[in-house]
C-alpha cells in the first residue's frame, strides 16, 4: 500500500502506467461525470440557495411544511424497507449461488441477471398488471378464499415497496454473491475441523465475512431507492408521494425550480451523510474488493 502513492495503475507486466496514459484512460469518464452529474447538481444547488435572491427560504419551505417533511420521511422509510427486504430475500439466493456449481449455478445466475436486461418500466408495468383489481394476485387470493372482495393493491405504498424490491434485488444479490465467493473454501473446512457445526460455521465465519457485501449491496439499493421515480409514480398512491415524484411535479407542473432544487439539496445531504458514515465504518476500498 505504501508504494501506491503516486499512481495506482499498472501495466499487466507490472510497470506502472504513465501519468499521460492514466489521464487518457480516465479523462472521458470524468468528463462525462462532470457534465452530466456534477455540473447539473451544482446548478441545482446553486438555484436552491440563490433564486430568486441569496436565501435559505427554499429550504425553510421544505422543513416548515409537514406535508413535505412527511414526503421525505416516507421516502427514507420506503428505501429502508426495500433495503431490508432485499437483504432478507437476496442473501439466501446469493448464498445458494455461491455454493452450487455447474448448470444449476448458471441457471440461477441468469435468473438474477436476466431482469436487468428489461427496462424498469417494463417490470413496473408487469407489477401493475398483477396488482389490478382483476389481476392475477386478486383472483388467486379470491380463489383460495382469503378474501371475497378484490383488495386494493395497486396505487398503495405496499405495491411500491414490493415492485422496488423486485427491481433492485439484483443489486443486493450480486455484491453479496461476490463476497461469499471470495471466502476461501478452507475457512469452512477449518471451522468444521475445529468443531463448528454447519450452522455455527455460517453464523461465526460466513456471515461476518459476507458483511462487506451486505453493506455495499445495501448502500447501492438504499441510495437507488431514495431517488426512484418510475415505480412510485406508476404504482404509488397520489396521496403518498415520494421525493422523486414530488420533485418532478414541482419542476413540470408548478414550475417551481428553486423549491424543487431545495428538495434535491436535502436529498443530497442525506446521501452524503450516509456515504460518510459508511466510509468511516466500512472503508470504501474494502467494499470495492481491495485487499488490505
Amino acid at each position: 500500500m505504501t508504494t501506491a502513492t503516486r499512481s495506482r495503475f499498472w501495466h499487466s507486466d507490472g510497470r506502472r502506467l504513465s501519468g499521460l496514459a492514466t489521464l487518457l484512460l480516465l479523462l472521458p469518464f470524468f468528463a462525462i461525470i462532470a457534465f452530466v452529474f456534477i455540473y447539473p447538481l451544482a446548478q441545482l444547488l446553486f438555484i436552491s440557495f440563490f433564486e430568486p435572491k441569496p436565501t435559505l427560504d427554499n429550504y425553510a419551505r421544505v422543513v416548515a411544511n409537514p406535508v413535505y417533511t412527511r414526503v421525505l420521511l416516507r421516502t427514507l422509510w420506503t428505501a429502508m424497507l426495500v433495503t431490508g427486504l432485499s437483504v432478507i430475500l437476496g442473501f439466501p439466493v446469493a448464498y445458494y449461488m455461491s455454493r452450487v456449481r455447474g448448470a444449476l449455478a448458471a441457471l440461477v445466475g441468469v435468473c438474477v441477471i436476466l431482469p436487468l436486461w428489461s427496462s424498469v418500466l417494463v417490470r413496473t408495468a408487469a407489477w401493475s398488471f398483477l396488482f389490478q383489481r382483476e389481476g392475477l394476485i386478486n383472483s388467486a387470493l379470491m380463489a383460495v378464499g382469503v378474501t371475497s372482495e378484490p383488495i386494493k393493491l395497486l396505487y398503495t405504498q405496499g405495491a411500491v415497496v414490493i415492485a422496488m424490491t423486485h427491481v433492485l434485488l439484483p443489486f443486493m444479490i450480486l455484491p453479496i454473491y461476490g463476497t461469499l465467493r471470495s471466502i476461501p473454501n478452507d475457512y469452512m473446512r477449518a471451522a468444521a475441523v475445529l468443531g463448528a457445526t454447519r450452522l455455527r460455521t455460517f453464523t461465526e465465519v460466513i456471515l461476518p465475512l459476507s458483511m462487506s457485501g451486505v453493506a455495499s449491496g445495501s448502500l447501492l439499493v438504499f441510495l437507488t431507492a431514495l431517488g426512484f421515480f418510475i415505480t412510485p409514480a406508476l404504482l404509488g398512491s397520489p396521496q403518498e408521494l415520494m421525493v422523486a415524484t414530488l420533485v418532478s411535479q414541482q419542476i413540470r407542473e408548478v414550475l417551481d425550480w428553486p423549491f424543487a432544487s431545495a428538495l434535491v439539496g436535502v436529498l443530497t445531504l442525506f446521501v452524503t451523510l450516509l456515504a460518510l458514515i459508511f466510509s468511516k465504518t466500512l472503508r470504501f476500498d474494502r467494499l470495492m474488493g481491495a485487499q488490505t
Binding site: D186, A190, A192, V193, L194, G195, T197, R200
Partner: protein, 373 residues
C-alpha cells in the same frame, strides 16, 4: 454437541491412526488406490510424493472432508470413516493458515473452545496458554493480517492444539514460507510434537523436510504406497526403483543380471562382468533378466580404492560447491554418472574431457529388476 477433551492438566497423548484399504475415486480418477497405513500413538508420519499422488486426498479423508469410496479409517479405538469432520476432534493446520480474518488472534485460538462450549474466561486463559506454547504470548489482541506468515502459521498451530486433539494433521503447512522461516517452523513443530506427545500426519512434497522431521515416511505414487519406513531405511535401501529415484540423488546403470547361488553376476554396458553379493538385490531376481544397478553419488570414490569395483568415467563437468564438489560424467554408453566428492579431494587431475577412474564399494550397490528410462 460437546466433544470431550482431557481435563486441564492432563497431557493429551497421541492416538494411533489406522488406515485400511483406503480407496477414493473422483469419477474416473483413482486418487487413492488401496492404501494401508498404521500410525502408532505419538508417531510423526510424513506423507511424501509427487504432485497428484493422493497425499491431500488421504489427509482429507482422515480429517473428514472426503468420504472414501471404500476402506476404513480409525483413530484410537473409534471408527471415524464416515463421522463428520466437526465430530472427529482432530487438529489440522492448512497450507494457507486459514486464520479467520475478522477475529483477533486470541479469538481465533479460542474458537475451537467456543465451539465446545468452554466458558469465556477459561477459553481465553487456555488460548493465551496455547499462544505461549508457540511463543506468541502477547500477540492475542492483534489481527491475523498484522502478523508475518510464520507468525500466522504459529497461531494456526496454537489453534489446532488448544483443544488437545490426539492427532494433528498438516497439509504442506510450511510451503508458503520462505526458507529460513521454514527451517525455524520445522524445529517448532518438532518441539511441539515432542512436548505434547501428539500423533502427527504431515503432508509434504519436500523430501528433506520429510526425512528430517518424521519418524517414518510414507512414499506415495499414483495413489499407492511405494514404501513406508524410517528416513534412513528409505535413503539407504529404497524398496523399489521409484523410491530409489525419488528420494535423494541416485545413479542408475542398466545391466543384465543373472542370479546363481549366493551371488549375482551383472553384465555392464561396457561388457565388464561384476559379481555382486545376493544382498545387493532389493527385490528378488529370477534367472537372467534386465536390471538396474543403483548407487548414490556420494558413495563413489575417486581412484582405485581396492574395496569394490572400478570403472571409467569421461569427465563432463566439475562443480565446486564448498563442502563437496559435484562431478558430472558419462560412461562409454553415455549413461550419465554423478559423483559427490568431499571438499578436500584433489580435483587437479579432472580436466574436462579426461577420463577418471572411480571405485564403487560393494556394499553401496543396489540392484532392482527393470530398466531406468
Amino acid at each position: 454437541m460437546n466433544v470431550n477433551y482431557p481435563s486441564d492438566k492432563v497431557q493429551a497423548a497421541g492416538a494411533a491412526v489406522r488406515i485400511r484399504r483406503l480407496e477414493k475415486r473422483f469419477q474416473s480418477v483413482i486418487a487413492v488406490d488401496g492404501v494401508d497405513i498404521d500410525v502408532s500413538a505419538g508417531e510423526f508420519l510424513a506423507l511424501l510424493g509427487p504432485s497428484g499422488s493422493g497425499k491431500t486426498t488421504i489427509l482429507m479423508s482422515v480429517a473428514g472432508f472426503e468420504f472414501p469410496t471404500s476402506g476404513s479409517i480409525s483413530v484410537g479405538t473409534e471408527d471415524l470413516t464416515y463421522v463428520p469432520a466437526n465430530k472427529r476432534n482432530l487438529g489440522m493446520v492448512f497450507q494457507n493458515y486459514t486464520l479467520f480474518p475478522h477475529m483477533s488472534v486470541l479469538d481465533n485460538v479460542a474458537f475451537p473452545l467456543k465451539m465446545r462450549g468452554v466458558p469465556k474466561a477459561e477459553r481465553y486463559a487456555r488460548a493465551e496458554e496455547a499462544l505461549a506454547t508457540v511463543r506468541l504470548a502477547g500477540y492475542g489482541s492483534r489481527h491475523p493480517n498484522q502478523l508475518s506468515g510464520g507468525q500466522q502459521q504459529r497461531v494456526a498451530l496454537a489453534r489446532a492444539i488448544v483443544y488437545r486433539p490426539r492427532v494433528l494433521l498438516m497439509d504442506e503447512p510450511l510451503s508458503a514460507l520462505d526458507k529460513n522461516l521454514r527451517e525455524e517452523m520445522q524445529l517448532e513443530i518438532k518441539r511441539l510434537h515432542a512436548e505434547l506427545g501428539i500423533t502427527v500426519i504431515f503432508v509434504t512434497h519436500d523430501q528433506s523436510e520429510a526425512l528430517t522431521m518424521a519418524d517414518r515416511v510414507a512414499v506415495l505414487k499414483d495413489g499407492r504406497i511405494q514404501q513406508i519406513g524410517p528416513s534412513r531405511e528409505l535413503y539407504e535401501r529404497p524398496a523399489n526403483l521409484f523410491t530409489a529415484g525419488f528420494i535423494g540423488e541416485m545413479n542408475f546403470i542398466n545391466v543384465t543380471a543373472e542370479g546363481s547361488g549366493g551371488n549375482i553376476s551383472v553384465l555392464l554396458p561396457s561388457g565388464e562382468r561384476w559379481q555382486l553379493p545376493a544382498s545387493a538385490a532389493v527385490e528378488p531376481l529370477t534367472g537372467c533378466q534386465k536390471a538396474v544397478l543403483a548407487v548414490r553419488p556420494e558413495r563413489l570414490q575417486l581412484g582405485d580404492a581396492h574395496n569394490g569395483f572400478t570403472f571409467r568415467v569421461k569427465v563432463d563437468d566439475v562443480v565446486y560447491a564448498g563442502s563437496a564438489s559435484l562431478l558430472i560424467g558419462t560412461l562409454p554408453d553415455s549413461t550419465e554418472i554423478r559423483a559427490r566428492l568431499p571438499g578436500a579431494s584433489d580435483l587437479s587431475a579432472l580436466a574436462l574431457g579426461s577420463t577418471a577412474v572411480f571405485t564403487i564399494p560393494k556394499e553401496a550397490i543396489l540392484l532392482y529388476p527393470g530398466a531406468a528410462q
